[in-house]
């Protein structure tokens, strides 16, 4: 195998796929990137056996074939090479020769046959969605994905397509975020799967604001194809909790806050908490909200904010990180806090012209005062 490619192009492609490589894998081949030729392009693949990323990039193919290279090594070499045309040749015994101007490097590698096969989706009809929509929905919810592996069914994002509505939901058992879109969604498809968190994080990083994404889903795996990238992974088996049941329906206390003011205030409260005492008390009274933090051995914080609120006085405590995560992703000028009492779940929604919007719903469990 022999190819020529501008250094920068190869480096960009390597950087896109290498995020998935786990540096401390028990299988040495998994620290490598597979490079295969394809007419006048090469395809780079990396996998940790769960999530795989493939990226295609144009180049001049002198001799077709395939090879592997250590992702760490390749990316650091590429980072130091001067810009220009790079020639990669696979020689005897899996030795790769890299030539760039007057630089010549030999890199020992492993046999491409050892590389695990990529997932196939033969005969699966893809769903077509807008990248911008998928990206937005993922970024609004992915922070709530559970990282505790003992709760396996929560370590992914619920991806549900039904009656022309795309709903994604993530929860870690203490908070839940749901984002929904009804425009430009295929009407006839029906899907309900849990996609692993790692895959979602990579997607968030790689998705663009323009163009289309094709989604391939079968019984046990899913792939997202966009631009010249393809990400695939096994699905999480198990049942996702009934998210609709978790969303409180009968809360009657509604407070409307200015999103940027509230976000800034919550950020300030976060500076006053520590690992052990991580809560902010939110006290609501007539058109006034009081944020209060009291952390032993650290100090106290108080701030008063204006609010549209006409309900009875109440106090509730939340983990400020949970509230901040949501507010940072709020794209309306006003945010609505819907509550019942200090021990019932709180609901945080965007507030539009005509009231709270159901396109982005966050349920946060309080901290018992």
């Amino acid at each position: 195998m022999k190819i020529s490619i501008p250094c920068q192009d190869l480096q960009d492609a390597v950087n896109k796929v290498k995020a998935v490589v786990s540096p401390k894998s028990s299988l040495p081949i998994l620290s490598h990137i597979l490079i295969e030729t394809d007419d006048s392009a090469i395809r780079l693949s990396a996998t940790d056996l769960k999530v795989s990323i493939e990226c295609t990039v144009d180049c001049t193919v002198h001799e077709p074939g395939s090879m592997t290279a250590s992702s760490q090594r390749l990316s650091s070499i590429l980072g130091e090479l001067p810009s220009g045309e790079l020639t990669m040749t696979l020689g005897e015994n899996n030795v790769i020769t890299l030539e760039c101007g007057r630089i010549q490097t030999r890199l020992y590698s492993q046999s491409p046959e050892e590389f695990p096969p990529m997932r196939k989706f033969d005969g699966v009809t893809p769903l077509r969605l807008e990248q911008a929509i998928v990206k937005r929905l993922f970024s609004k919810t992915s922070f709530a994905i559970c990282t505790d592996q003992s709760r396996y069914n929560l370590t992914g994002l619920l991806f549900e397509l039904k009656e022309g509505r795309l709903t994604v939901v993530a929860t870690d058992g203490r908070r839940m975020s749901l984002a929904m879109e009804t425009e430009n969604i295929p009407e006839d498809a029906e899907v309900k799967v849990i996609i692993p968190g790692k895959m979602i994080n990579e997607m968030e990083r790689l998705l663009q604001d323009e163009g289309e994404v094709q989604v391939f889903i079968d019984e046990s795996q899913a792939a997202f194809e966009f631009g010249r990238m393809r990400l695939s992974s096994a699905l999480i088996e198990g049942t996702f909790p009934n998210y609709d049941m978790v969303i409180p329906k009968k809360h009657d206390k509604e407070a409307v806050l200015n999103t940027s003011e509230f976000t800034a205030a919550i950020r300030r409260t976060q500076t006053m908490t520590n690992e052990k005492f991580n809560s902010v008390r939110i006290g609501l009274s007539d058109n006034q909200v009081m944020l209060r933090v009291s952390t032993p051995e650290v100090g106290e914080y108080e701030e008063e904010l204006g609010v549209e609120y006409a309900g009875s006085e109440m106090e509730i405590a939340f983990n400020p990180d949970f509230v901040g995560d949501i507010l940072r992703r709020m794209d309306t000028d006003r945010t609505c806090l819907i509550l019942k009492d200090g021990s019932s779940p709180g609901l945080i929604k965007p507030f539009g012209e005509d009231g709270p919007l159901d396109s982005y719903v966050n349920v946060v469990m309080p901290i018992r005062i």
Partner: protein, 400 residues
């Protein structure tokens, strides 16, 4: 005007309580910590008569018996000491609302605001000593200074049954001649380092050029020198909460039967977690301590994703830790359980599975209620019942 902080420390507290209860013990070397037959364990408190033989707290019982064979050894009665402590607390409450019980037998009182009412430091001290004597018949030592640190050191100097007042501005002069070991926070290691620097008294430490201290102790050097100069800013905190709660015990003889280690571990855990719940605390870090027959001491810790106060959750963690401890094939001398990273008012409610947790919380609340009224032994989990209805440990943890 600066603060005036009073420190009160009961003299040989446990021993004094016993001597008041049984006057025959007065004037005799009395050692609380274990009775004549106990071979393990350490001295909890020694009466002043026993101290004359060089016996001090934390000394192994065997050593104490060697030094004073005719001494009177008792296991102690914690409930009694608690009662006496509460009486002392009640007296202090009449002086100022700012009372911090630092332990069962010592307390800090911020008397800045009580000066005019009582007529100054000396009057307050006299009042407290008289009232404590009336309520409990126990001797105590009281000292007053401008901060907690100086007051504590002063009490140590005035013991027993004494009173010492350090006027504002005299702190450094008072500290000056004292040996390093009198300064709280200076342990054997720090002292060793200081001695190599030629520092043997607090006075020398106070005037040692700062760069030398910073070189030896890093940023800790600042605090060390401030302390040596009698400067401290810690406020009296009426509701100070513990940072960790631990229970441990030494077996009468080294135990090889793992089942018994687990039973005692469970028993200690139940005691610790009961104590934790009575203070409305939750733990996030659970530690198992095991000392083997060869005196190797290992600790195994686990940090939970969310704090808990449920016995079942704590026990599940301990069982896993115990499996690790068991891999060392050696008899066990001591086992201990420690609940750390304690927090309060921080119970994160959950979206799912709350019902199960809440059920257990309600159960434990009732269990604790029964224990509050009838004693801890009234209700225990079946896991530790093999130890018998009344558990008598070789070294009863006296302060627990």
């Amino acid at each position: 005007m600066s603060r005036r902080i009073l420190h009160i420390d009961m003299d040989a507290f446990f021993a004094s309580v016993e001597q008041v209860r049984n006057p025959e013990l007065q004037g005799k070397p009395l050692i609380i910590g274990g009775d004549k037959t106990d071979v393990r364990g350490v001295v909890s408190t020694a009466s002043y008569e026993a101290r004359a033989y060089g016996i001090h707290s934390a000394m192994p019982l065997a050593e104490a018996k060697r030094r004073c064979p005719h001494g009177i050894f008792m296991r102690g009665n914690f409930a009694l000491y608690q009662q006496a402590s509460e009486k002392v607390h009640a007296v202090l409450d009449t002086v100022s609302p700012l009372v911090e019980m630092a332990s069962i037998d010592e307390a800090y009182v911020d008397i800045t605001g009580s000066q005019r009412l009582f007529g100054g430091d000396d009057a307050i001290a006299a009042y407290i000593r008289r009232r404590v004597r009336e309520e409990t018949m126990l001797p105590c030592t009281v000292s007053i200074a401008s901060n907690k640190l100086v007051a504590k050191v002063a009490t140590d100097e005035a013991k027993p049954d004494g009173y010492l007042r350090i006027a504002e501005g005299d702190e450094a002069a008072f500290f000056h001649p004292l040996p390093l070991k009198k300064l709280p926070g200076v342990g054997p290691r720090t002292r060793e380092t200081l001695e190599t620097l030629g520092v043997f008294t607090i006075g020398t430490l106070a005037v040692l050029p700062l760069p030398i201290l910073l070189n030896a102790f890093g940023t800790g050097g600042y605090g060390l020198q401030r302390a040596a100069r009698g400067i401290s800013v810690g406020a009296v905190e009426p509701t100070s909460r513990p940072k960790s709660i631990s229970r441990e015990t030494t077996f009468e003889t080294d135990v090889f039967e793992w089942q018994r280690v687990l039973q005692v571990m469970t028993y200690l855990m139940e005691r610790a977690s009961y104590a934790m719940r009575t203070q409305d605390l939750e733990t996030k870090c659970i530690t198992l301590k095991v000392r083997y027959a060869d005196f190797t001491t290992l600790t195994f810790a686990h940090t939970l994703p969310e704090p808990t106060n449920l016995d079942s959750e704590i026990h599940a963690v301990l069982e896993k830790l115990a499996n690790k401890a068991r891999t060392r094939r050696e008899r066990v001398r001591l086992v201990g359980v420690s609940l750390g990273a304690l927090s309060y008012n921080q119970h994160q409610l959950k979206l799912f599975g709350n019902a199960e947790c809440e059920k257990w919380e309600r159960v434990l609340e009732r269990v604790d209620h029964v224990r509050d009224r009838y004693g801890f032994e009234m209700l225990r989990s079946a896991r530790s019942m093999a130890l018998g209805k009344h558990v008598s440990l070789a070294t009863p943890s006296l302060s627990r």
